[in-house]
Symmetry: D2
Amino acid sequence: MSASPLTPDQAAEVAQARAHRTETLRPTVPALEEILFQPLPVLDHGFVRVIDYMGDDSAIVQAARVSYGRGTKRVSEDAGLIKYLMRHWHSTPFEMCEIKFHVKLPIFVARQWIRHRTANVNEYSARYSILDREFYVPAPEHLAAQSASNRQGRGAVLDGEEAVEVMRILRDDAQRTYDNYEAMLNLGPDGGPKDPARQGLARELARMNLTLNTYTQWYWKTDLHNLMHFLRLRADPHAQYEIRAYAEVMIDALARWVPLTHEAFKEYRLGAVTLSATAMAVLRRRLAGEQVTQETSGLSKREWAELEAALAGSGGAG
Amino acid sequence: MSASPLTPDQAAEVAQARAHRTETLRPTVPALEEILFQPLPVLDHGFVRVIDYMGDDSAIVQAARVSYGRGTKRVSEDAGLIKYLMRHWHSTPFEMCEIKFHVKLPIFVARQWIRHRTANVNEYSARYSILDREFYVPAPEHLAAQSASNRQGRGAVLDGEEAVEVMRILRDDAQRTYDNYEAMLNLGPDGGPKDPARQGLARELARMNLTLNTYTQWYWKTDLHNLMHFLRLRADPHAQYEIRAYAEVMIDALARWVPLTHEAFKEYRLGAVTLSATAMAVLRRRLAGEQVTQETSGLSKREWAELEAALAGSGGAG
Amino acid sequence: MSASPLTPDQAAEVAQARAHRTETLRPTVPALEEILFQPLPVLDHGFVRVIDYMGDDSAIVQAARVSYGRGTKRVSEDAGLIKYLMRHWHSTPFEMCEIKFHVKLPIFVARQWIRHRTANVNEYSARYSILDREFYVPAPEHLAAQSASNRQGRGAVLDGEEAVEVMRILRDDAQRTYDNYEAMLNLGPDGGPKDPARQGLARELARMNLTLNTYTQWYWKTDLHNLMHFLRLRADPHAQYEIRAYAEVMIDALARWVPLTHEAFKEYRLGAVTLSATAMAVLRRRLAGEQVTQETSGLSKREWAELEAALAGSGGAG
Amino acid sequence: MSASPLTPDQAAEVAQARAHRTETLRPTVPALEEILFQPLPVLDHGFVRVIDYMGDDSAIVQAARVSYGRGTKRVSEDAGLIKYLMRHWHSTPFEMCEIKFHVKLPIFVARQWIRHRTANVNEYSARYSILDREFYVPAPEHLAAQSASNRQGRGAVLDGEEAVEVMRILRDDAQRTYDNYEAMLNLGPDGGPKDPARQGLARELARMNLTLNTYTQWYWKTDLHNLMHFLRLRADPHAQYEIRAYAEVMIDALARWVPLTHEAFKEYRLGAVTLSATAMAVLRRRLAGEQVTQETSGLSKREWAELEAALAGSGGAG
């Protein structure tokens, strides 16, 4: 990982932004202000920066009290109310908080990320501008083989020689396609045309030669409810490691921003398990002292294994 | 209009909130902070309050520059860039700003408002809580007759006697249905049961007896792009007066919040006119010196009238 | 319940529409075609009609196979694949099916319903047109008292005399406000002006005098994923009875339309229970033979009661 | 362009699907049924297929009549009502129709396309499955140089030698990165492992070596209102040629599906021009006989040029 994932220009901008304080009547969160604008490194060249936020735990409580009006004086403690809202899937109070991130990420990760449609996005445009020569190459410990049992999953880490070969390919192909990107753009070292006799291919076309591990960047803004939905899916052990790495850093930011909500999120989302009607029936039989086997459970082998794992505390049931 | 549309409790809360300043690294907008939390009166008992905001004109510029990257150094002036974005319908930079309002409004206005789905809403729940005895009665100058020519529009103001009768009906029916709401709830003056021998109807049922001019309230949060879309439609002369009154107050808040965007909004949205393919052909013929009549224009009578109005500066073409 | 909730005009339209068959290459679902356009009665004057649909169980499978491509030949059975998708919360294949309903419902129910924003809506406009003299009055067995323990819930049914009084109020107030609605509109029995000397209040204003149990109607269109989300929340025992009545009729339509999906919906949504991290820990301790009490559980009294209810099969955990 | 962009398996599926007719009560559109499931070729290996649809022009009218109720009998002609809805930006009746496409497209086009968030998408998953060896290489007449005046636009077509070199690079790099993709997957010609001693990199990782012109495919489903919004932006002369090629084919499908709506779309969207407040003032002065120059117009040079172009009929104003 590079010392700083920012360019010198960007680092200077961050320092300047962090030097400028103003007064506001809005709720502020000192623990989040501490890291505001700062890059939180992810993968080999990526980062997440919190750029702005609106609201805090108390804004959620305030919104909930608008909904429930005079009727809710008894639920007087904020943490209790937030847990109640999370437990009963009352999403609208959490929608009253908003956060904006600046994210630098490989294009193939960006393509997974964008499936979450309830967010606002401003991506760096390779129609207008030229992408940087930066691409993701997994660290050796993340060079996983295809899982034999699960088409979506990863298996063991690749053996030494095979891993070396894969890393060489990824680096070489990214370098070469980027070299050719510059060549097609007719881009000289000073940013001007390399060969005055050539026109240079349009940027919107030249970019198609880049590989999917090229880094892009975007501003990504969403409300707290949709952020938690994103984080629950993308911090899940079944999510691809590369996007999980972003989700984990963002969960740390969540803990700084809305600590009460973060606690409730762990209890009722990340650590929670949803059991099917049949799985619940199995549980009831077992708690009543009955021996239940997969054969007598009504569950498929795979569901049975998932239930066992959930009860062993070693994984989530689907 | 009442002196203050807030209850004493609410007014005390506003005063307390406005006394509490903190420091932040986030962009702040002093002109908007001036009115933060303060009720801006609308109709006879309604209000709009700005509760929170994220971003400012410069945040839009910053987001646009992420998109266009190195390529946009030449468009260096913020006002020019914002006009450019508005003119070319580049919506995503405007989505990077967010605002949260507290609104008190009659239920029939709330039902129009909620059709704009790209927003977050927390409404006062009449399942949990008891609605206040407050309802909208139009001022005499807004008691319009049904338009004879346009089913959706209003005609002239009602004559004196008919107006008096309408206002009497609206007041009496709202009072009586509210009295009966309280009676069905078995609600005593101290908030306890009026008649200990009665159970009181469930709140979620009793509310169905209220009339549509009863006031409700909600927190409503949206991004700047969707706010402008809402304002363009609801500040339009064809919108119902009662929702237009809210839109106009919110446009004033917009001008405080993002003055450059507000200018561009007036130029390219509120004051702009969309002309159909055939209307453009008519214009070309007229500019070439040709006399064009409705009969030779290819436009229907109604479209012709709308074009005439747009060219006279007296209304928008559809 | 009235014999038919349709007007004679509407009934004639349905009969005509049902007489007209055409050939199509699209997937069709005979069990759903059987009830197409027919009103399914709900409450005293409401209905749900299926107006159109796109896709069936096999369209979900087809969409899933596009996603998973060559890799999914082994999961060859449709029912198994649909269960798998539902269990693992893969929502996008279910989004590939769409359904359109025509619904007649009281306004206070419409206001709950519209909170689900991911749908398309065309509501009858009381700005343009005149609402019918129809309002919901609960049957005596649904005249519930306010719950003493739960602000949102209903308690026992009202006693005879109190119930009679409530029904009288609801009927009288709805009648009187509707009479006055017509009077303000200056509406004569033939649809023309009643008193030629009067102008008649604009429709968009007169409607504010109607009570919230007045019936409205709309076309409501959504995809299968969002339909199931709506049905899960609105068929829940905690939902208000009046909207639950609609959800239950729509679940019957779901069973006709996509029977395999309906089965999976019951198993993994309606009958499923989500247990918090702490509740899972309690279960593990109990299955290991430990006696756990509320005091030693780490759960609040309310959460403990919900867990007990879930394990007794008598209710959902929150 | 290849004779058929479908694989033999896909072509057999289409033939089979087209052989199977059923009866339905739903509205059907014979002109669209004619091309249902058939691939409409786009670019060198892409296609658009209409997979399913819901509704037709009359369904829009029917939905509008629900909204406007008894009040709209005078607007009796369907074409007139549809034009009225389009002209006045009444979007909800158009949302009552839905269409589903199967699209094969280069990844860089997919990334532009997905910015339209109001749609449902099922994309081929390169985590589960292996992408085909197919990539887009522009035809020589589309190998445009970077525009000197407009960062986003294309300039003249590249000269012969430079064009040859660009095409060679695009082909070679795509081939080589795909060869290496297969090598990293350890994929043998029969689909099994090429080298039994190797494990093969996980699919979700190997895909990052592919270039952005690799073809992917998805099911994409949207309502008619959002489809037209997409088509208006993507059929615009400023849109990148490659996505415009898709939009144009889809407009042909639109014309088959909803011919009245298509006519109104051309008149009030594709061929319409939006003029700013200042541009309207210029027009008024010119129609009054005044000579107006850019200097006296209040418009910037660029806006002036856009207005001139719009009035000359040679392009849209921004």
